[in-house]
C-alpha cells in the first residue's frame, strides 16, 4: 500500500515548528553574535577584482572560499549578513528535505543538519583570530549546499549504469570547486544508490569504485594541479583546526554532518513502506518538537559563549572609532572576571579620557584566559589596537605584517597598516593599502577618508584621527623587541622612559605603579606634579602608601588631599584589626571598602599572569 501522508505539503504545525526554529536561530545570531560577525568581516577580505578571484584557484574548493569571502563582507551590516545566512540555511534545509525525502512526518530530522551547520560558525569564538580561513562564516554552508545539490541529482539517476559515471564526473569536475564537499557528496550518493538499489546492486563494488575515484582525483589534482600538501588536498576548504583531542570538539559538527547525511541516504524513506518503516515515520512525527528542542539546545550549548569575548569585540570597535567612554562603559558593564586584553584596553581608554589617575582602580583586575581550545596569546588578540592607541606605530605595523604573513592580508590589518604608515610619514606605502581597501565594497569610504592625508600630509599632525596618538610617539628611536609579550613589554617600556612629553610621563608614572616599582615611581610622580600642579587620586594613593612603607620621601610638596590621608589611615587600621597576613582571608574584607584604591591593588592583586 502506498502511504501518501508523509509526502503531503508542510502543514501549519510544521510551519510553526519551523518558524520557532528559524526565529530562534535569527535571534541567537543577532543578539549574541553581531559583534562577532563584524569582527569576522574585518578579519576577512574581499576585493572586487579579477586577480583576487584568480588567487583562489590554486586550491581545491577555492571557488567556495571565494564565495564565502564574498558573502562574509555583508556582515559589515550584521543584520544583512545574518539574513543572507538564514536564507542560505533555509535553502540548505529545503535541499535536505527534498534530497532525503523528509517531508511530512520526517520533517523534524531536517533540523539536525541545520543546527550542525549553525554551530560550525557559532563555535569559532576566539579562534577567529588565528584560523587561516576567516571566511568560514559562509564557506562551509555553501559547501554543504553544493554537496546536497550533487546528492539531489544522485537521487534522480535511476539507471545504475550511469551512476559510476556521475560519481566520476562529480569528483573530477567538482572537486576543484567544492573540495572535500565534492568527495563527501560522492560518498553520500553511494548511500543513496544503495537505498535505491535493485537486486543486482553491489554496494561493495560501488563504494570501492567511489573511493578509488576519489583517491585518484585527489592524488591527480595534488600531483598535477594544486601545489599544496596532500593533507590540505584532502581537507580543503575545511578550516585549519588541528587534528588533536583539544580541537576535536571543533571538528564534531563537520563529522556529525557527514554521518547524518550518510545515514539519511541509507535510511531515506522509500515509496513503498513496510510496517517497520511506517512505525518509524510515526515515531519521527511525534518526536518533531523533541528534535526541535534538541537542535536548538545543541546550538545553544555548543556555541561559543563568552561575555568577556563579546565585550572585547565591542571595545575594539569603540576604540577604532575613538569612542573611549563607550569602550569603558562596556568594560564596566562586564560582571564576570576580566581578561588581560580588557585590562590593557581599559588603560588605553582611560589615558585617552584623561582618567587614568582617577579611575584606573575603579575597574577590576583580571587574568581570565581566552576561552579557546588552543592557547591564544595576548599579542594575537590585541597587538593592533593596543600598540596603535599607545602611539607605538612601528610595533603595531609589525604585528599587522606578522599576522598578514600568517593569515593573509585582511581588512583590519590593512586599516591599521594604513594608519601606521600615515602616522609614520610613509605615505607611498599607505597609498598602496588605501588602493586595496578602495577595492572593497564596504571599506571604500574609510579608505577614501584617509586618502586625503596622502595628498595633504600637512594635515596629519593636527587631525583628530592622528593627533592623540602622535603625542605618544614622541620618543627617541632605539632597537627593541617585545618577545611576543605585549603587556610586559609596554609596562617595562613606558616605566623606563626618562624623558618625553607630559602625556608620556604620565603613562610612565602609571606603568611604574602597575609594576609596583617604587624607585621609578618617585621621580615620575614629582615630575608630573611639578609639570601639572595636580596629582590625581590614584597617584596620591601611591605616594601616601610608598611614603608609609619607605619613610624616605617627603610628600608634603605633593599636596595630598586630607580625604586620601584619612582613608589611608582607615585602611591601615583595618590591616591592624585583622591579625593575619593571609591575603585570602583579608581580601574580602578589604574588597568591600577599598577595591577602588591603589592600596588594594598593591596588596591584593598579586601574581597576575599575562600571556
Amino acid at each position: 500500500m502506498k502511504n501518501t501522508h508523509e509526502f503531503k505539503t508542510i502543514n501549519y504545525y510544521t510551519l510553526i515548528l519551523e518558524s520557532i526554529f528559524f526565529l530562534s536561530i535569527l535571534l541567537w545570531l543577532k543578539y549574541q553574535y553581531s559583534d562577532f560577525f563584524i569582527k569576522a568581516q574585518e578579519l576577512s577580505l574581499f576585493l572586487n577584482s579579477f586577480d583576487f578571484f584568480k588567487s583562489f584557484l590554486d586550491r581545491p574548493g577555492g571557488i567556495l572560499l571565494y564565495l564565502g569571502s564574498f558573502l562574509t563582507q555583508f556582515y559589515y551590516y550584521p543584520i544583512l549578513g545574518i539574513t543572507i545566512f538564514a536564507a542560505l540555511l533555509l535553502l540548505m534545509q529545503w535541499l535536505v528535505i527534498s534530497t532525503f525525502r523528509l517531508k511530512g512526518k520526517l520533517f523534524g530530522l531536517s533540523f539536525i543538519p541545520v543546527a550542525l551547520t549553525v554551530v560550525t560558525v557559532t563555535q569559532i569564538g576566539y579562534m577567529i583570530y588565528i584560523i587561516k580561513l576567516p571566511d568560514m562564516m559562509f564557506t562551509q554552508l555553501i559547501g554543504v549546499i553544493g554537496m546536497l545539490l550533487i546528492c539531489k541529482v544522485s537521487t534522480l539517476i535511476k539507471k545504475s549504469e550511469y551512476r559510476p559515471l556521475w560519481i566520476a564526473v562529480t569528483s573530477v569536475v567538482l572537486y576543484p570547486v567544492l573540495g572535500i564537499y565534492a568527495l563527501a557528496a560522492s560518498l553520500v550518493s553511494i548511500c543513496i544508490f544503495f537505498r535505491q538499489r535493485t537486486s543486482t546492486y553491489n554496494i561493495l563494488n560501488e563504494a570501492g569504485l567511489t573511493l578509488a575515484i576519489n583517491l585518484a582525483v585527489v592524488i591527480g589534482y595534488y600531483h598535477y594541479i594544486f601545489k599544496i600538501s596532500i593533507i590540505r588536498a584532502w581537507l580543503y576548504p575545511l578550516p585549519d583546526f588541528r587534528i588533536s583531542s583539544s580541537e576535536l570538539i571543533l571538528w564534531a559538527p563537520y563529522i556529525s554532518l557527514f554521518i547524518t547525511f550518510m545515514l539519511m541516504g541509507l535510511f531515506m524513506p522509500s515509496d513503498i513502506k513496510n510496517e517497520k518503516e511506517s512505525s518509524f515515520l510515526n515515531l519521527c512525527n511525534k518526536l518533531k518538537p523533541v528534535l526541535l528542542i534538541l537542535s536548538i539546545s545543541y546550538i545553544y550549548f555548543f556555541s561559543h559563549k563568552d561575555d568577556a569575548f563579546v565585550t572585547e569585540l565591542k571595545v575594539d570597535r569603540a576604540m577604532e572609532n575613538q569612542q573611549w567612554k563607550e569602550a569603558l562603559g562596556y568594560i564596566k558593564d562586564l560582571k564576570s572576571e576580566h581578561t588581560r586584553k580588557l585590562v590593557l584596553t581599559r588603560n588605553v581608554c582611560l589615558y585617552h579620557t584623561k582618567d587614568m589617575g582617577n579611575k584606573m582602580y575603579s575597574f577590576p583586575e583580571g587574568q581570565r584566559l581566552p576561552n579557546a581550545p588552543r592557547p591564544i596569546s595576548l599579542v594575537s588578540l590585541s597587538s593592533r589596537p593596543v600598540y596603535y592607541n599607545w602611539g607605538k606605530f612601528c610595533f603595531c605595523y609589525r604585528w599587522c605584517m606578522e599576522d598578514a604573513v600568517e593569515n593573509g592580508f585582511r581588512v583590519e590589518y590593512l586599516k591599521y597598516m594604513t594608519k601606521c604608515a600615515i602616522a609614520s610619514g610613509e605615505l607611498r606605502v599607505a597609498s598602496k593599502y588605501i588602493r586595496t581597501l578602495k577595492n572593497t565594497t564596504f571599506h571604500k569610504k574609510w579608505a577614501e577618508s584617509y586618502e586625503k592625508f596622502i595628498t595633504e600630509p600637512d594635515n596629519i599632525a593636527n587631525d583628530p584621527s592622528f593627533a592623540p596618538f602622535l603625542v605618544l610617539n614622541q620618543f627617541d628611536d632605539y632597537l627593541d623587541g617585545d618577545g611576543s609579550k605585549i603587556e610586559v613589554y609596554l609596562l617595562n617600556n613606558f616605566s623606563n622612559l626618562t624623558k618625553g612629553s607630559i602625556e608620556l610621563s604620565e603613562v610612565s608614572l602609571v606603568s611604574s605603579m602597575i609594576l609596583k616599582d617604587i624607585d621609578k615611581f618617585w621621580p615620575r610622580c614629582f615630575y608630573y606634579y611639578n609639570k601639572t600642579n595636580n596629582l590625581p587620586k590614584h597617584y596620591q594613593e601611591a605616594a601616601v602608601l610608598y611614603e608609609y612603607l619607605e619613610k624616605k620621601v617627603d610628600i608634603t610638596p605633593l599636596n595630598i588631599s586630607p580625604q586620601i590621608k584619612q582613608r589611608f589611615d582607615s585602611f591601615m587600621k583595618l590591616t591592624e584589626y585583622f591579625k593575619t597576613d593571609d591575603v585570602n582571608v583579608l581580601r574580602p574584607h578589604f574588597e568591600k571598602k577599598y577595591a577602588d584604591t591603589f592600596w588594594f591593588y598593591y596588596f591584593f592583586e598579586n601574581d597576575l599572569k599575562t600571556y
Binding site: I228, S424, K432, L479
Partner: protein, 498 residues
C-alpha cells in the same frame, strides 16, 4: 585547470576592460604637451635587451582614450587602452627587428574629445641578450613570521613564472620552513643550493639534478652555512657562518635591524661533505663571500668592530650604528684549497660607510657592491645604494643612475656581464622590487627599469617582496616535490676537515 580557468577569465576580463578593443588608429590631429606622460611603471629612456618581455604599462593621466605608438623608421607598433598590454609575439618580433636601434615611444591621450601627444621618449634595444631566467624568493617584507614563502623562476622573455620550491608543500603547518639564500653555480639552473631553516632544516644542494640535504654545523662552528658563494669551477661553496639577530626599531621607518654578533667564513667541499674553516673564532666579523670569475680570489666583507663586553649581542645591538664593513679579498689556491693573506679592496669604513654584498662582473673587471651608513643587512637601510669599482684601475664608477632615495640592495650580474638586476624599495619604501639595468662595454650604467609584468597593476596589488634576484641560463627542472622528498629526509652530517 587553473591555467585554463585563468585564461578563460582573463580573456573575458580584458575584453571587458577594453584593453585591445579600441581604435588603434594613430590620431592625425592632436595638440602637443611638452611633458612626458604619467605612466606606471615609468619606463622612460630605458635600454632594454631584445629578448625582454613586453614593457606593459598603464596611463595615470586623465583621459577617455589612450594610445601608444612605438616606431623605428617605418616599423611601427601601436597599442591602445588605458592599460597598454602589448601582444607578446609582436613585441618580440618588433624588438628583434630593431636590435641595436632606438625606438621612439609616443603616447597619446584623448580627453574631452581632443587628442594630446605627450613628449616622446625612447627605448634603446640592446643587442646584448639578457639571461633567459631569473629566480627570486617571494616573501612579505616580514619580520619574524613566514607562512607562504616560495622561490620562483621567471622567464624574462615572457611572463611565465613557476615555483622552484614553496613551503606550502609541507604536510603540516608547523613543518613550514623558512627557505632562503638560493644560489647557483655559474648561472647553472641544475646546480644550486638553498637553505631550509627550523624543522627539517639543512642546506639543499642540487648538482646536475641530484639532490641532497646537508647539515653543515659541526663542533665549535658558530652556525651552519649562511650566505653562500659557489666556486665557479670547483665543487666548493664558500659560506659565512653567522650568529644573526633581528631587533626592531621603535620609531624609525627602517623598522628592522639585522646584525651579527659573531661571524666567520668556511669552505664546503660538496663532493666530500667536508667543512674547511677559512676564518674561525676571529674577533672580526666576516660575511658575504663571493668568488672572482676565475675562482682564484675570494672577496668578502669584514667589520673590525671591537667588542668590549661578553654580551656580544647586547653590545652590538646598542652600538649597531658603529658597525661598518669593508670589502677584502683572499687569493685562493685551487689545487691545495689554501688561502693567501687578506687584502683590502674597498675601505668603506674610512669614509664612515659600510660596504657589503661584493659581486664581481663575469669579465672580472668590475666590483658591484652595496654601501650604506652602517651595518650588514642593507635591505633595511634607507641609505643603502649600489656602488661600483673598476678593479683594473681602482677607480669608482658612477652608478648614480641605478640609485634612488630608498633602499637599493641585493644585486646580480647577468652571465654576459651586460645586465644588472637588483632589489629596490623605491616604489613604495616597503616592498622590494627587481630592477634591471644595462651596463655597456664602456662601463656605463643605463637607467634601470622594473621587471615587466603582464598586468601593469601587478606591483600595486602584489603584497610580497622580490628577494635575492639571481640570473640563470635556463629554468630549474627539479620539481618542488622532489625537493620536498629530500627535505623530509635526515640531512647528511658534514665533517670537519682535519
Amino acid at each position: 585547470m587553473k591555467h585554463l580557468l585563468s585564461t578563460i577569465y582573463l580573456s573575458a576580463f580584458f575584453c571587458f576592460a577594453g584593453c585591445s578593443v579600441e581604435n588603434k588608429t594613430v590620431p592625425k590631429e592632436f595638440k602637443e604637451n611638452k611633458k612626458f606622460a604619467a605612466t606606471y611603471p615609468k619606463y622612460f629612456l630605458n635600454t632594454v635587451p631584445y629578448n625582454i618581455a613586453p614593457l606593459n604599462f598603464k596611463f595615470t593621466e586623465e583621459g577617455e582614450q589612450f594610445l601608444c605608438k612605438l616606431s623605428c623608421g617605418d616599423d611601427v607598433m601601436v597599442a591602445s587602452g588605458e592599460k597598454i598590454i602589448f601582444n607578446e609575439k609582436k613585441w618580440s618580433e618588433f624588438l628583434n627587428r630593431n636590435k641595436g636601434k632606438s625606438i621612439k615611444k609616443e603616447l597619446f591621450v584623448k580627453n574631452q574629445g581632443e587628442w594630446t601627444r605627450f613628449l616622446p621618449d625612447s627605448i634603446t634595444v640592446s643587442e646584448s641578450p639578457i639571461d633567459e631566467y631569473i629566480s627570486y624568493r617571494m616573501i612579505e617584507p616580514s619580520y619574524v613570521a613566514y607562512e607562504d614563502i616560495s622561490i620562483r623562476q621567471r622567464n624574462l622573455s615572457s611572463f611565465e613564472e613557476s615555483y622552484i620550491y614553496f613551503n606550502r608543500v609541507m604536510e603540516k603547518d608547523n613543518e613550514s620552513n623558512c627557505i632562503n639564500c638560493h644560489s647557483y653555480k655559474n648561472y647553472d639552473p641544475n646546480t644550486f643550493q638553498f637553505h631550509v631553516r627550523q624543522l627539517k632544516g639543512g642546506t639543499v644542494i642540487c648538482q646536475n639534478g641530484d639532490l641532497k640535504k646537508v647539515d653543515m654545523k659541526c663542533d665549535s662552528l658558530i652556525s651552519s652555512g649562511v650566505y653562500p658563494a659557489w666556486h665557479p669551477n670547483k665543487n666548493l661553496i664558500a659560506y659565512s657562518i653567522n650568529d644573526t639577530h633581528q631587533v626592531f626599531h621603535t620609531r624609525n621607518n627602517q623598522k628592522i635591524e639585522v646584525f651579527d654578533s659573531e661571524s666567520d667564513l668556511i669552505l664546503f667541499d660538496v663532493d666530500k661533505n667536508e667543512v674547511i674553516p677559512i676564518f674561525e673564532n676571529t674577533p672580526e666579523l666576516e660575511v658575504f663571500p663571493f668568488w672572482s670569475p676565475s675562482g682564484t680570489e675570494l672577496y668578502y666583507c669584514v667589520s673590525n668592530f671591537e667588542k668590549s663586553t661578553a654580551d656580544l649581542r647586547d653590545e652590538v645591538r646598542k652600538k649597531y650604528k658603529e658597525i661598518k664593513y669593508d670589502i677584502y679579498k683572499l687569493s685562493f689556491d685551487t689545487i691545495n684549497y689554501t688561502f693567501g693573506e687578506p687584502e683590502i679592496v674597498v675601505n668603506a669604513s674610512a669614509n664612515g660607510k659600510s660596504a657589503t654584498l661584493p659581486r664581481i662582473s663575469p669579465d672580472g673587471k668590475y666590483l658591484l657592491y652595496t654601501e650604506g651608513d652602517y651595518g650588514v643587512f642593507h635591505i633595511w637601510h634607507k641609505s643603502s645604494d649600489l656602488k661600483m669599482l673598476n678593479l683594473e684601475t681602482g677607480k669608482n664608477i658612477n652608478v648614480r643612475t641605478l640609485n634612488s632615495n630608498d633602499v637599493e640592495s641585493y644585486h646580480s650580474w647577468s652571465s654576459n656581464g651586460r645586465w644588472i638586476i637588483f632589489s629596490s624599495r623605491r616604489d613604495d619604501g616597503s616592498f622590494t622590487r627587481p630592477y634591471i639595468a644595462h651596463f655597456d662595454e664602456n662601463g656605463k650604467c643605463r637607467r634601470p627599469f622594473i621587471l615587466p609584468q603582464k598586468d601593469p597593476d601587478f606591483y600595486f596589488d602584489c603584497y610580497k617582496s622580490f628577494n635575492i634576484p639571481e640570473f640563470m641560463t635556463g629554468p630549474v627542472n627539479v620539481s618542488a616535490r622532489e625537493i620536498k622528498k629530500v627535505i623530509d629526509k635526515n640531512p647528511i652530517k658534514a665533517k670537519r676537515k682535519l
